[in-house]
C-alpha cells in the first residue's frame, strides 16, 4: 500500500494491493459525504455489435448482490435518504451518491457490495430492459437527443464507440442476454479499473480503512487495453435532418471531432471554445444567434476532449422557419473565429473567467469528487487543482488562433438537425 498526501486541495491517494485507487478529501462544509466509485467499464468495452450492454449493466448493477437482495438495497438506501446513481459513459460506469456523514460506513459498504457482487437476476434484467427500451423511445421523440446522436454518427460512424447510441437500439437491447452483463462485469468492474473518491465530512484514515475493508479479497483480473479508434477521415461537410412530427422547435447539433484530453493543445482549445460558445450567455454564438438575431433561447458550444478525439459541439434550438438562418449564423461565427482568431480582450476575459472559476468548480463535495476522479483518470496529478490556473495562464494568442484555425472550418463541419418537417429542412435529409 502506498500513500501520498499533498497540500492544496489536500486529497490523500492510496493504491491498494489489488490495484484499486482510493482518493479521499476531507471537507467540513456540511455533515455529508459524497462517494464516487468509477470503473473503466463504459461503452468502449461492450461488444460493438451489441450496443447498450454497458448501459443496461449499469441499470441492473444495483438490483441484488450475493449479500443483499434488490429489496434490501433499496430499503437500506431509502432509509438513509440516499439516491444511488449508476451512470454509464463511453468510458466509465460510475456509482455515485451523497449520504449523511453518520451513514458513511453503511452506504460505502452498499456501494462497493453492489459493484463487487452483483447477481444480475433475470427478473431485474427484464424490468430494466423494458425501462431502457422506453428510454430509447423517449429519445426517439426528443429533437435535441436525435440531433446530437445523429451528429455523433456523422462524425464517428455508427459502429465507433463514440458514434453508436449509448443506450443501444431497441433491437440491440432486445438481444442483450444476462451473459453479456456478467461478462462485462467480470472483465471490467474490477479493483484494477476502480477509482474510489470519497469527499466530505469524514476522517481520511477512517474512510481508507472502511474502503480497504470492503475491497479486501477482491482480486483484479487482467484488464485488456481497448484503444479508441480515430474518427474516420472525412473531407467535406456533411448534413442530415431528422423529421420528428409534432414538434415546435428544431434542434441543431453542429461540430467537429477535436482532440484528446492529453493533447498539449488542450488548454488552447478550452479557451477557444469558451470564446466561441461559453463566455457569458454562450460566447460569440449566443451574441449572434440569441442576442443580435433573437432566433434561439439557447446557443452554445461544448468541448469534450476525452481518451479519444472527443468532439467540439455547437448546439442551438430554433424556430423551424429559422433553421437555415441559424445554421448560416453558426457558419459565420465558426468561420470568423477560425479565420481571424479571437481579440486580445476576448482571450484575456476568457482566461480570467476560467482561472477565476476554479473555486466555484471545487465548492461542493460532488464537484470535488468529479474533479479528482477526472484528474486520476487522465493522470493529471493529485495537485492538479493548483496547476490548472498556470496551464491556462500560459496559453498564448497564437496557440488559440492555431486551435481555431485547425478545427473551425464550416466546410468540414458535421451538421445534424431534428424537428418538424419543413421544405427547407427536408432538403438536408
Amino acid at each position: 500500500m502506498t500513500t501520498a498526501a499533498i497540500r492544496g486541495l489536500s486529497p490523500e491517494r492510496t493504491v491498494l494491493d489489488n490495484g484499486a485507487v482510493v482518493i479521499i478529501q476531507e471537507t467540513p462544509t456540511t455533515p455529508a459525504v459524497t462517494i464516487l466509485a468509477t470503473f473503466l467499464a463504459g461503452g468502449l468495452y461492450e461488444p460493438a455489435d451489441v450496443p447498450g450492454v454497458a448501459y443496461l449493466t449499469g441499470r441492473v448493477l444495483d438490483r441484488g448482490t450475493e449479500r443483499r437482495s434488490a429489496e434490501v438495497i433499496s430499503e437500506q438506501l431509502d432509509d438513509r435518504g440516499v439516491a444511488l446513481k449508476v451512470s454509464t459513459t463511453r468510458h466509465t460506469i460510475s456509482l455515485g451518491c451523497t449520504c449523511l456523514a453518520e451513514d458513511f460506513d453503511d452506504v460505502l459498504s452498499i456501494v462497493l457490495d453492489v459493484a463487487r457482487r452483483p447477481l444480475f437476476p433475470e427478473p431485474e434484467i427484464a424490468k430494466r430492459r423494458a425501462e431502457a427500451i422506453t428510454a430509447v423511445r423517449q429519445d426517439d421523440d426528443n429533437p435535441a437527443v436525435r440531433a446530437t446522436e445523429t451528429f455523433f454518427e456523422l462524425v464517428y460512424g455508427a459502429t465507433h464507440p463514440y458514434g453508436r447510441r449509448a443506450k443501444g437500439s431497441i433491437e440491440s437491447i432486445e438481444r442483450i442476454q444476462r451473459e453479456h452483463l456478467v461478462r462485462l462485469h467480470a472483465a471490467r468492474v474490477l479493483p484494477g479499473a476502480l477509482t474510489l473518491v470519497v469527499v466530505g465530512d469524514v476522517r481520511p484514515s477512517h474512510a481508507l480503512d472502511r474502503a480497504a475493508y470492503e475491497i479486501e479479497g477482491w482480486h483484479s483480473g487482467q484488464l485488456e487495453d481497448v484503444p479508441v479508434p480515430p474518427p474516420p477521415s472525412r473531407s467535406g461537410r456533411v448534413e442530415r435532418f431528422v423529421v420528428i412530427p409534432g414538434k415546435s422547435q428544431t434542434d441543431v447539433t453542429y461540430g467537429f471531432a477535436a482532440i484528446r484530453r492529453l493533447d498539449p493543445r488542450y488548454y488552447a482549445y478550452w479557451i477557444m471554445n469558451n470564446i466561441l460558445g461559453q463566455f457569458g450567455l454562450g460566447g460569440r454564438l449566443a451574441d449572434n444567434i440569441r442576442e443580435r438575431q433573437g432566433m434561439a433561447y439557447y446557443a452554445f458550444s461544448a468541448f469534450d476532449a476525452s481518451v479519444g478525439e472527443g468532439p467540439l459541439v455547437i448546439r442551438a434550438g430554433v424556430d423551424p422557419a429559422n433553421l437555415e438562418r441559424a445554421i448560416a449564423a453558426i457558419d459565420d461565427e465558426v468561420r470568423a473565429l477560425g479565420t481571424d482568431g479571437p481579440t486580445e480582450r476576448e482571450l484575456q476575459e476568457s482566461r480570467d473567467y476560467l482561472i477565476g472559476s476554479l473555486p466555484r468548480m471545487l465548492e461542493t463535495n460532488q464537484s470535488i469528487a468529479t474533479f479528482l476522479q477526472n484528474a486520476e483518470q487522465f493522470g493529471l496529478g493529485l495537485d492538479y487543482d493548483r496547476h490548472l490556473a498556470s496551464h491556462l495562464d500560459r496559453v498564448q494568442m497564437d496557440e488559440v488562433r492555431a486551435a481555431a484555425a485547425e478545427i473551425l472550418d464550416p466546410d468540414r463541419a458535421a451538421v445534424a438537425a431534428a424537428g418538424p418537417s419543413t421544405g427547407a429542412s427536408e432538403a438536408r435529409s
Binding site: S357, R360, E363, T364
Partner: protein
Amino acid sequence: MDDMPVSEPYTAPRDTREVHLDNGLKIVVKSVRTAPLVSVWCWYRVGSRDEGPGHTGASHWVEHMNFKGTTNIPRDEMKGIVERFGGMWNGYTWIDQTTYLETAGRDALDQMLFIEAERMANGIYDPAECESERTVIISELQGGENDPDQLLDSEVTATAFRAHPYRHPTIGWIEDLKRMTRDELYAHYRRFYIPNNATLVVVGDVELDDALRLAEKRFGHIQPGPEPARTMVAEPPQLGERRVVIERPGTTGYLKLAWHAPAARDEDFFPMLVLDAVIAGAKGTNIWCSFRGMPPQRRARLYTALVERGLASSVSGALLPTAQPFLYTLSLTAMEGVDLPAVEAAAFDEIERLRTSGATEVEVARARRQLRARTVFENDSVTNIAHQLGYFETVTGPGFYTALRDCIDAVTPEQVADAARRRLSRQQCTVGWFKPTSAGAEGAR
C-alpha cells in the same frame, strides 16, 4: 392560512444579519467561509400570479429584459463584469417570485451588488431589445413544447385552476407573448422592482458589517414605490374530477395526477410533504438544485406499485412551498407497450390504499429521515444556501426556513393519513394524459 407551528419570535442565527433599509429593502447576510466565494441573490415578490389576462408571461419577460443593460451598464458590458472574477450569473421566474443571482470570488461582491442595484432601478427596456427578446422567449416556449411532459404539465395546471392566476404558465401564453408591448413590460417592471418589494441575500466569505455597508451604499439611495396592489383570488373548491387528454405525435405515454395542495404556511403542508415522500420519494425543498436527479424512491409506494410491476418507467411527485395553494402533482411515464388506463388505474389504486389505510410508521419515519437528509444535501454551497434563504423569505416570510427541520420531525402518521384522506380524492383530482399518436393526428380535448 398562517397556521404553521413556527416558534416566535424569530431571531436570525449568529452568523446571519438581517436589516431593513429605510427604503424598505430587506437585506439578509450570512457568513459562510468554506470557500473564497460570495453568492448574491436579489429577490422580488412578483411572479406569474401577478399577471392579469392578456399579460401572461410579463414577469418572465421582464426578467429577460433585466439582462439587457441599464443606465450605467451598457448591454454589451453586462456580460463580463462577473465573469472577470470567475463568476456565474442567472435568474429565474416562477409563480410567486423572480430572482437574479451571481456567484463569484469574494472580491466581486461590490460589482455584484452594483449589478443588482442597477437592475432594480435603472433598466432601459430599449424597444428594439424588447422585440428581439420576444422571439427568444417564444423560442424558449417552443423548446418546452417539444417535451411532452412539460406540455402536459401546462395543460393539467390550466385545467386544475378555474380562477387563480397560478393557472397560466410562467412563460405565458403564446398570443400574449406575440402581443405585449414594450410599455406594458416597462410598467410591470416599474410596479414591482422597488426596494420595498425585494429581498437582497448575500452568503459567503464576507464580514457581515462590510457586506451590509456595501449593500447600503449600492441600494440605499433607491426610492421606494407604492406597495404593489395585488388581486387576491381564492380558487373555488373542485367538485369533480377533471381530465385533459393531449393527442399528438409521439412515442411515449405520460400521465399526470394533480390535486390542489396546501400553501407553505398551511398546517397541511408538512404532512403533505411527508406524504409525497411516502408516495414518490423525498426531493427536498430547493427548487434550484434538488429536482435535477431522482430522489431516493425505490421503497416509495408508486415506485413499488408501478415501476417494479413494469407499468411505468418512472414516477415523480412535486410539492413545492408556495405562497398560495398550488398543486401536488404526480407524474408517470408509461412503460413501452403499457396503456395509459392501466397506469392510471394502478396509480389510483395505490392512492386509494393510502387514503384508506394511511402510511405505516416505518414509511413515515423513512420519509422524515429522507427529508432531513435532503435539508443537508441541498445546502452544500453558498449559492444553494443563499437560494433557500431568499426563497423562503420571499415566498413564506421570516421564520419558516429555520423551522423547516422541526416541522418535518413533528409530522405524525395520523397527520399523513388525514391529509391523504382529505386531499387526494378522485373527485378533487385533475387527470392528464399525453397519448402519443402516429404523425398527422394531433389535438387536445
